[in-house]
């Protein structure tokens, strides 16, 4: 896109014709894209901060301390403390672990599910296609937010222990988001399967599994990588909405979404912004960085969809 790909046209024209794999070429192009690299850098910093950061925090054990309740940010507690005297910065980082994990895992699940079902649907066509696509249509017709609300309420009823809720939230999010992916892969599959190299595989007498996993899907990997990257941001946003409404991951496990829930308390909302503004900005910065990086990846890996 545009600003991102500014360097690309020149790069393409000056690039010597060398025998190198598409991956190495892509990497070289990507390294020239400063905006995308900035995005990647921010994402890496965020991950490191969340997963390693709390180890260096003196408050990492989530200990409550009634003598320092609701303190504004100060030198000892950079982002202040909450109503139980816990350090907010440490909690934001610990919450980041959960939010990032849920985002990543539900992306992996939905992309895998979507790719697999879309590929089967586009490859076999006929009845398989009919069944899979009708289910996808059904899921796309039902509005997703009410669906997520219902699942969230069911989750509370099944008395799922709080520490296991995050796994179910991942499942729910991927269940709602696979149909779009499946449709896209199916469309690509329908055109790919008519290409000459597929006739060659038929002549060679390869079986379906070989054709599908060794000859068709590898052609879609660049596209899948791009969509997968861009989907992480979306999954993090969805998780935060669910958790904010108390239907996703719930306390005491902190996530960025359920930390913002503090804003539902009028006094916390008005007088103690340090409780809910930092997690909000964490979501924002992470998602924007992922999106910028994903867009840079798209320029490199999937030039047809440029801009």
């Amino acid at each position: 896109m545009s600003s991102v790909s500014k360097a690309n046209p020149n790069a393409q024209s000056t690039k010597p014709i060398v025998k190198s794999s598409i991956w190495r070429q892509s990497l070289r192009l990507l390294l020239k894209n400063k905006l995308a690299l900035t995005g990647l850098f921010i994402v890496i910093v965020m991950f490191l901060a969340c997963f390693i950061g709390p180890m260096f925090s003196p408050y990492a054990d989530n200990r409550t301390n009634m003598t320092i309740m609701n303190k504004a940010p100060n030198l000892k507690h950079w982002l202040g403390t909450d109503k139980l005297g816990r350090d907010v910065l440490t909690r934001v980082l610990l919450a980041g672990r959960i939010s990032l994990t849920v985002g990543l895992a539900s992306m992996v699940l939905s992309v895998t599910l979507g790719t697999l079902l879309g590929a089967l649907s586009g490859y076999f066509r006929g009845i398989v296609d009919q069944v899979i696509m009708r289910v996808a249509d059904l899921l796309m017709t039902v509005p997703s937010l009410p669906l997520l609300f219902i699942f969230g309420a069911l989750l509370s009823d099944w008395k799922v222990p709080p520490e296991n809720r995050m796994y179910i939230v991942m499942l729910i999010l991927s269940l709602v988001s696979w149909p779009g992916m499946a449709r896209m892969i199916r469309g690509q599959m329908l055109s790919l399967r008519e290409r000459e190299f597929m006739q060659a595989t038929t002549v060679l007498g390869l079986n379906n599994r070989r054709k599908l996993f060794h000859h068709l899907l590898p052609n879609l990997i660049p596209l899948i990588i791009v969509i997968a990257t861009l989907n992480i941001g979306g999954a993090i946003l969805s998780e935060s909405v669910l958790s904010f409404f108390g239907l996703g991951v719930t306390a005491p496990t902190p996530t960025w979404g359920n930390m913002i829930d503090a804003a539902n308390n009028l006094i916390d909302f008005q007088e103690r912004p340090w409780l809910w503004i930092p997690p909000g900005f964490s979501i924002f910065i992470t998602v924007i960085a992922i999106n910028i990086f994903g867009d840079g990846l798209r320029d490199v890996l999937d030039p047809k969809q440029k801009r």
């Binding site: 600003s3 017709t141 309420a153 009823d157 913002i260 008005q270 924007i288």
Partner: protein, 317 residues
């Protein structure tokens, strides 16, 4: 076209029927019902009430009752508000529509203007700034930006009211009433516009970039048309054409309200009504709302396809 439409409509009806069964069963599975949330009632009274409302019948039988009534245009009675669901929708939906229509208008206006300029000056600093703002707009968690703006503009600066549609207890009429509503709309409309503008601006920008490179744009310039006329007369008209398909997709957003925004800004719209009813397990209303959105979604998709066909006759349906 005729046979396409009839095929398409019958498929839509099947999908909607399947969706209604699925949603009904899911709501039936949702823990608790309207009566169990009322702790004042005795066990016998609860059983009696369940009998009256038919909540103790098997799910499929309840679905059948619901469906036969719904097909006759009767979505039932809201248990919590003791009013027909349809008349409740009528009370709330126009507030949602007001918010959605105004923000959709601003979204399209800003997206078209900014998209055209960014495309015209591709790779300029303006374009770069626009791209970054677009990414930002696409990455904001809607509920958080809503809360943040309320905190800044309503709580700290006292410039705008924090939520609702009119000031509590106000009985202003005429011009004063309109001014009050506009003040209350300012923040939610800003958030909704911000959230929508990102992807739409990007869409117009890329369409314009395609169009500007066409030969007829060079012809227009060559015959001496002014740059403004070339851009908005020749280029934009062609760039707008594919956007006609987006009109259909706006349909659920226009009438379905926005659950998150209406909740955050306490806006008395249909989304807010839904969230409130979800807590009370007011099934007829929940069912009606979810089906309304589902219907608007499929109708919107159909509308897009048909409009696309009308705009571009080469497209075969």
């Amino acid at each position: 076209m005729g046979s396409y439409l009839s095929k398409r409509v019958s498929y839509i009806l099947i999908i909607l029927a399947a969706a209604s069964v699925m949603i009904f069963c899911l709501y039936a599975m949702t823990p608790g019902d309207f009566i169990s949330s009322n702790i004042k009632l005795s066990a016998e009274r609860k059983a009696e009430l369940r009998e009256i409302y038919g909540l103790n019948k098997p799910v499929l039988e309840r679905y059948w009752t619901w469906l036969t009534h719904a097909l006759q245009g009767d979505l039932g009675y809201s248990l919590a508000q003791q009013k027909p669901v349809l008349s409740l929708f009528n009370d709330y939906i126009w507030n949602s529509f007001l918010l959605a229509a105004v923000s959709t208008f601003f979204t399209w206006l800003i997206a078209v203007i900014v998209g055209v300029i960014a495309a015209y000056r591709q790779y300029s600093w303006f374009d770069t700034v626009v791209m970054i703002v677009i990414f930002a707009a696409m990455s904001i968690p809607s509920f958080f930006i809503g809360l943040f703006l309320i905190k800044v503009f309503a709580v700290d600066l006292h410039w705008l009211p924090p939520g609702g549609i009119i000031t509590t207890g106000s009985n202003a009429t005429g011009w004063a009433h309109i001014k009050e509503v506009i003040a209350h709309m300012a923040l939610p409309v800003t958030v909704m516009t911000l959230l929508g503008t990102g992807s739409l601006t990007r869409y117009f920008r890329s369409n314009m970039i395609d169009v500007i490179q066409q030969d007829y744009i060079r012809t227009a310039r060559a015959k001496g048309a002014k740059e403004g006329r070339v851009l908005f007369g020749h280029a934009l008209r062609n760039a707008m054409l594919p956007a006609i398909t987006l009109v259909g997709f706006e349909l659920p957003a226009l009438f379905g309200g926005s659950l998150i925004i209406e909740k955050i800004f306490n806006w008395p719209g249909i989304g807010q009504l839904y969230i409130q009813s979800f807590g009370q397990r007011d099934y007829p209303l929940l069912m009606g709302f979810t089906m309304l959105i589902a219907i608007l979604t499929v109708l919107g998709t159909l509308l897009s396809d048909v409009l696309y066909r009308i705009a571009d006759p080469r497209v075969k349906l």
